[in-house]
């Protein structure tokens, strides 16, 4: 997807008159910069503009609001930490989405896979004896979370391949199943009898993910960042990534040359499910330390925007995860300061994605009909 779009952009430039074209080609750096601007700065700018208009309509100075957001996020150590904690599951899920979208597998099932993993982790936490050695226990829990995410993704994958069931619908539905299954598990099995809200007792401290020195950050962040080059290799350098790209571009031709299309698509579902499951596991073990009714503020959905903003590129996922995490955390600042509901930031993020998609459509329209 990313390359298709990129190619469209380069094509759009190639359609210009010859003279401009020549100048264009001779200044590769400028061309790259303009391409980047078209892909990121323009939608971002438009999103900011629309967001500002919204705030202005609410009677708030956009400038002041944005300053507050910025101060919330980078002005304080705790805000910055919050942003990184928020960005960790976003990044993990978005890496999986990016891979899937490149194969034209439009999964939106990160939320359900995240919660399935949370259930699996909690089940282990509450059944393993507290004397379990820490490292094997944690590894087992991370593996169980990943496996639960894969399992949650296997069903829509199988339905897509064998029954031609649209994965947008099936993964979306399984999100609700996942969230409600977790609620059910909390309520019936692991409920904290002393709490007024829907949550389990806190996990034993022994099962906390290791922290980064002197912060609330956990090694999930390191794992997510370490997976970025791995995904970069898989998607853009490996034969497997080439297969995914081929299938996403033309599944029929891919099949005709002997690529096992169905098997590869199942694999794509499993990998994206695994990453979302890992996100759920690290978030529960590293940040939440218990199951709680609103465990995820919609990580699985925000990650869609992260992946789209990053054009499905693993490297792009890092800044866009930070950006959307920053927006989410920053919006809490403006809620305190100005009394705008945090939902506002969802509007802003959605506008952002709309601008991205609209931009792509405009580029499509600029193509010569052939």
């Amino acid at each position: 997807m990313e390359t298709t779009r990129a190619n469209l952009l380069s094509e759009a430039t190639e359609l210009r008159p010859v003279r401009v074209h020549a100048v264009w080609r001779s200044t590769g750096g400028v061309r790259q910069a303009v391409r980047l601007a078209g892909m990121i700065v323009v939608p971002l700018g438009t999103g900011l503009l629309v967001g500002s208009l919204l705030m202005w309509a609410l009677g708030i100075s956009p400038l002041a609001a944005f300053r507050t957001m910025l101060e919330t996020v980078v002005g304080s150590r705790s805000g910055f930490t919050d942003m990184l904690l928020y960005a960790t599951p976003l990044l993990l899920i978005a890496l999986g989405y990016g891979l899937a979208y490149r194969a034209r597998v439009w999964t939106v099932g990160g939320e359900g896979q995240f919660h399935a993993a949370a259930i699996a982790v909690a089940a282990l936490v509450f059944t393993l004896p507290p004397t379990t050695p820490r490292l094997p226990g944690l590894l087992l829990m991370l593996a169980a979370g990943s496996a639960a995410g894969m399992l949650w993704a296997l069903l829509p994958g199988w339905l897509r391949v064998s029954r031609q069931v649209n994965e947008v619908v099936s993964t979306l539905m399984l999100n609700f199943v996942g969230i409600l299954a977790m609620h059910w598990v909390i309520r019936t099995v692991f409920r904290d009898p002393f709490a007024g809200i829907l949550q389990t007792p806190p996990f034993p401290r022994v099962f906390d993910l290791p922290r980064l020195a002197g912060t609330r950050l956990h090694i999930g962040l390191i794992m997510a960042l370490a997976l970025v080059p791995v995904l970069l290799y898989v998607m853009h350098y490996s034969t497997y990534g080439f297969r995914i790209k081929a299938i996403g571009t033309n599944p029929w031709a891919s099949r005709a040359v002997g690529i096992r299309v169905d098997r590869t698509i199942i694999m794509v579902f499993l990998i994206s499910g695994m990453l979302a499951g890992l996100a759920g596991a690290v978030h529960v073990l590293g940040a939440a330390h218990r199951l709680i009714g609103d465990l995820s503020p919609g990580f699985g959905y925000t990650a869609i925007m992260v992946a789209l903003l990053a054009r499905c590129h693993p490297l792009g996922a890092v800044p866009s995860a930070l950006l959307l995490a920053g927006l989410a955390v920053g919006s809490e600042g403006i809620q305190v300061e100005f009394g705008i509901p945090t939902d506002f930031v969802q509007v802003f993020a959605a506008v952002l994605v709309l601008c991205i998609l609209a931009g792509d459509t405009l580029i499509w329209k600029g193509r010569s009909p052939s």
Binding site: T239, A246, T249, N250, A256, V257, G258
Partner: protein, 531 residues
């Protein structure tokens, strides 16, 4: 031939698409009250001619007169206003709407509420349906109608507008035999009783013979003949469609490798009593295969001739391992099975539908050339597009096969059709495969590229490949093949030696006229037949 009864007169129609001349000074007359067959192979220009008459294309030269008055048809609306209606091959109907709603879609309500318009439309459709015995309920949802019924809805639409001229593009391709009879009866009634005129665009010889008053044959954009009641016969039509000339430059084609010498290898690709269900999909030209048996030997080019839509696509897909036979087996190299991805990986395949099955338009030339590398090997290893050796191979293939532009990072979407085909041919034939399935490999290509592609097929055959060549170009088949089988209505009519068979014999078999393999004019081998 311009007389008082002329409904449409087209004179000297020229239409070019780039360098391709689709219509080359074509004259066409349509008399009042006649059914006029327009016959020709694919790419002969018949659809272009009808699109011009329906206003979809503007001719580069020539004159059109409708009922004696010169007209300029700038769009379908102009054509409709002059009473010309098109019944297209792919129906323009919304399945979720009713018949009446579909027909009301194109109407100007003139300020009336939609339901009033709809009520009027329903009333008139009911009357028309009864008058013509169409048996279409105006309130029926189109999605629930059969293909034949949908076609009658299209005809209803033309009648609703009281069109005097009906252009029907391959009208029988979607119909069952009973529906065909019914349609033809109806057309006969409409022309004889009401002096409407019908153009029947088709490539089916037998069909036009039965109903058409006259038949115009187009070949390679030119009108070859218009046959009237006196001289209309299957033989004459076959002769006009295929052309009487001998295969051009056959000597030079076969000079490169003496074909008789090649015909000695062991069996590589074997069809044993293969039956296949129709490929279906959006393509309407699908037909089941029955009991198809033949063997392609190493070093041999085996041709399949036939008029399009007689099961070639099913044969192509089955041979390429994309369709599983419902009965019979397809064997590769004696015992291997062509089914499954391993079969697909083993068979070099040049598909007839290149943008779908041949290339990925939004991948680069290099990626398309290396697509087969993606199928096998260690998935976690460095991609072929990232390794120097495969890339050097790709560059080499670009140079050897003359792919233009010679840039491996060019998107195939930006390549011409001929160069896109070169990409497919280069990928499939570069490494001398053992089995080749080539379907319409030169369709739509210019002469130079066609010659090149044919040369490549001959090259791999000389090197020992078993080549199955499905083509509707008889010149190509006779120039390249060792043996030719003719397919008609999903059955193999017979197999002939390509050098001794006459064009008339092939043409007759293609029209379903000959008893299978009737000539038996081949050395030492009887036609291989199904059971």
């Amino acid at each position: 031939m311009i007389n008082m009864g002329a409904s449409v007169v087209m004179r000297g129609i020229v239409k070019r698409f780039g360098h391709v001349v689709a219509n080359d000074h074509v004259d066409f007359d349509l008399a009042l009250g006649e059914i006029h067959g327009l016959l020709g192979e694919n790419g002969s220009g018949k659809t272009t001619l009808m699109s011009i008459l329906y206003g979809l294309y503007q001719p580069d030269a020539g004159e059109i007169r409708v009922h004696g008055a010169p007209v300029a048809l700038r769009g379908p609306r102009d054509a409709l206003e002059r009473g010309i209606a098109m019944i297209p091959q792919q129906f323009r109907l919304v399945p979720t709407l009713t018949v009446a709603e579909n027909i009301a879609l194109g109407l100007d309500p003139r300020g009336r509420p939609h339901r009033h318009l709809l009520r009027d439309v329903e009333r008139r459709l009911m009357a028309l349906s009864e008058q013509y015995g169409l048996q279409i309920a105006p309130t029926a949802a189109v999605g629930r109608l059969s293909m034949g019924e949908r076609q009658r809805v299209e005809i209803l639409r033309a009648l609703y507008h009281d069109s005097r001229v009906l252009l029907m593009d391959e009208p029988t391709s979607v119909l069952t035999p009973r529906e065909v009879d019914r349609l033809l009866q109806m057309l006969a009634a409409m022309t004889k009783n009401e002096r409407r005129s019908v153009v029947l665009v088709t490539h089916k010889i037998l069909e036009v013979l039965g109903v058409a008053d006259r038949v115009t044959v187009l070949r390679q954009g030119r009108r070859v003949a218009t046959l009237g009641p006196g001289d209309l016969s299957a033989d004459a039509l076959v002769a006009a469609m295929m052309g009487q000339r001998e295969p051009p430059a056959q000597a030079s084609w076969s000079a490169a490798s003496p074909r008789s010498a090649r015909n000695q290898g062991r069996p590589i690709l074997e069809f044993r009593a293969v039956c296949v269900s129709p490929a279906g999909g959006s393509d309407l030209a699908s037909r089941p295969l029955h009991d198809v048996t033949f063997t392609v030997r190493s070093g041999e080019i085996f041709g399949i001739a036939g008029v399009e839509g007689n099961g070639q696509r099913e044969l192509e897909f089955a041979a390429a391992g994309l369709l599983t036979p419902t009965a019979g087996t397809i064997a590769l190299d004696g015992n291997g099975d062509s089914q499954g991805h391993s079969g697909r990986a083993a068979v070099a395949y040049i598909p007839s539908d290149r943008p779908r099955w041949g290339v990925a338009l939004d991948l680069t030339v290099a990626e398309n050339l290396l697509l087969r590398h993606a199928a096998g090997g260690d998935p976690w290893a460095l991609a072929p597009t990232r390794r120097p050796q495969p890339l050097a191979d790709a560059d080499n293939a670009i140079a050897t096969f003359g792919i233009h532009p010679p840039r491996r990072r060019a998107l195939v979407r930006h390549l011409s059709g001929g160069n896109g085909q070169k990409v497919v041919v280069a990928r499939e034939l570069y490494r001398l495969p053992a089995v080749v399935v080539a379907a319409q490999p030169t369709a739509g290509l210019d002469v130079a590229t066609s010659t090149f592609v044919r040369g490549q097929l001959r090259r791999v055959a000389s090197a020992g490949a078993a080549v199955l060549l499905i083509s509707s170009d008889l010149d190509e088949l006779q120039g390249l093949c060792d043996r030719i089988g003719v397919i008609y209505q999903g059955r193999l009519m017979g197999i002939w030696d390509a050098q001794t068979v006459t064009r008339a014999a092939l043409g007759a078999a293609m029209a379903g006229l000959a008893s299978a393999g009737g000539d038996g004019n081949h050395a030492g081998e009887s036609p291989i037949r199904g059971h």
